[in-house]
Symmetry: C2
Subunit: 356 residues, 2 copies
């Protein structure tokens, strides 16, 4: 069964084209009928849990990939969020919806409810509804979920990975490091020397990359990175407010803050208002994302534009390409990073004179 | 076939329980096989268009309702938006997602792309995927779409109807008229006498109700309704900005504006900033919706809170109740309005002294 002699032709002609076991072979090895294996593949509930587990293990061990998957696909594309909290999510939904509509597909939306991988039943539901593919946002899949989707020839793409998605997972990101660098350089060029930062959650690679860009900007300008000025946030407004109060309430407060994302920047706005500090006269603020709201706040926010809708469109297009190309040859892994760009508005200015 | 003598028992026992034709009778009348009628009901593509049309017409004429629909439903709930533009949509998605997750269902998201009813193919796709039900947001269904869903026993609920949804369509709204009244009364009580308003699109009932509430507040306070101070908007930020410039740039400008919704209020903020007018010292502003951003802008926006997430939850729960109760008896139509409430922040204050 391990095909140790691939050169030797096998009697079934269907087998000569692929290295993997057939459904009938999986059934024989599991000691069940072929229709039972089909039921497992289709996510049907009427299979005993022990049988299901045994079949799943064999599908995985043999690297089974469903052929003719195109014929049985539903006109759906799955979109999974880590959390549906922010305006951020809307930009992504719109991008996936654009591509799906053009392809005549509908979008199924799920939330992994704060966990970094969606639940076990989620994967079974996806297998049962047989979408063209899955776009995961700030969310990963564990090994068994990946095996489950792979055996059904359901491709997946990770957008803006929360952690290391693995070299063989196609993913779409943004140039977060360059964005953190550009935001901080802009502040350095305005004359700021004490620049604070609020990161996102440290388990998210995009968050680490932004803060590393911030550090690189300071170091290449010959400025010290003061660990007391770098706070660990979570990308939420409330945290921007709370850590903003901490940063701005100290006597040696920074004259500028790179807020990690727009929501934290808006929290910082509120902290500054409460402390009677003017933006940008007393403190400059830079965000990250360029949500629509960045233009509407007072003063309009200088921020790093992340092309969220375009990233989501790219992820959806990639997953549909992978769906078309599933067959004997596994598609090569793809990692694309779309460019970020600094958008200068009026929340940044030269620092106040020392002692003023 | 029209059951003109319902008292007379029919030979088939299955028929005595219901007034509508069976699938077999529909097939006979259409001159096709029963499996062909099934294919039409299931949205299968392999039926000639003329046959499909004839079958659909007969299903509708006989008021056919699929029985045992529960057994064949997919674990999905459909959510259809008029447009996915605003932060508004996110509040609604979250509400439907909450209810769906608790019920073990996934949410299929569609956008009717600016039309007030989704496209024809949309209804076919819904029939094919057989969700538990459909929640329509600011969107209606034409008669043929309603007939199509009804014959498949797929219930639907309209949230915050754009027009008159018809007496027999279950819907969830908010007390828009009371909200417009409360917003305007608040301004009157602060001492404002010249109060402008920007409406939403006139074809949306919620928009008309808010402006009628505004008028009622002025009239009951003995103040004239000046038609020149009431502008017709579309609920978008850009329009709030453009009409805000018009309203605030005239010499006899109003001292306060009821902006119709939060996005138009934020557009008005931008117009005021550009004209050098301070909020609330020179002009007071009231929004409608209470999006998260209303708390974050400077100054924080006084607005009418519309419980969007709760409304979406109520709509999703209602559609699932209807799904459970589909059978011989059509459920009674339901119209629920959840209460709005005024949230006073710092964008409203007494008017500037005349001539100052």
């Amino acid at each position: 069964m391990t095909h140790s002699e691939p050169a030797s032709p096998r009697p079934q002609t269907a087998q000569t084209r692929t290295q993997t076991a057939t459904l009938a072979e999986i059934a024989r090895e599991a000691g069940v009928s072929a229709p039972t294996v089909s039921k497992v593949l289709n996510g049907r509930a009427d299979v005993a849990p022990a049988t299901r587990t045994r079949v799943e293990e064999l599908l995985r061990a043999h690297g089974y990939r469903r052929r003719r998957a195109e014929a049985t696909r539903s006109p759906l594309i799955d979109l999974v969020f880590h959390e549906l909290e922010s305006a951020w999510a809307m930009e992504v939904i719109r991008g996936v919806e654009n591509v799906a509509r053009d392809a005549g597909l509908s979008v199924v939306l799920s939330e992994s409810a704060g966990r970094l991988t969606p639940g076990r039943t989620w994967a079974d539901q996806v297998a049962a509804r047989r979408p063209h593919g899955v776009v995961l946002v700030l969310s990963g899949l564990d090994e068994s979920q990946r095996a489950l989707l792979t055996s059904r020839s359901i491709p997946f793409v990770v957008m803006d990975p929360a952690g290391d998605p693995g070299a063989d997972v196609p993913s779409i990101g943004a140039t977060n490091w360059q964005g953190g660098l550009a935001a901080t350089r802009h502040l350095v060029e305005l004359g700021h020397r004490r620049i604070g930062a609020i990161s996102g959650p440290p388990q998210m690679m995009c968050s680490r990359a932004r803060i590393d860009g911030y550090r690189a900007a300071l170091e290449t300008a010959g400025l010290p990175v003061e660990s007391g000025l770098v706070m660990t946030g979570d990308f939420h407004h409330e945290t921007g407010y709370r850590l903003g109060r901490e940063l701005l309430d100290r006597p040696d407060r920074p004259t500028a803050v790179f807020a990690g994302n727009d929501l934290q920047a808006l929290g910082l706005y509120e902290a500054a208002r409460e402390l009677g500090l003017r933006i940008p006269e007393d403190v400059s603020v830079v965000g990250f994302d360029d949500l629509p709201v960045a233009r509407w706040v007072g003063p309009p926010l200088t921020t790093v534009r992340q092309p969220l809708t375009e990233m989501a469109e790219a992820a959806a297009r990639l997953v549909l390409e992978l769906a078309r190309s599933t067959g004997d040859a596994a598609p090569t892994a793809t990692r694309v990073e779309l460019a970020t760009s600094l958008v200068v508005r009026t929340s940044t200015a030269p620092p106040p004179l020392a002692g003023s």
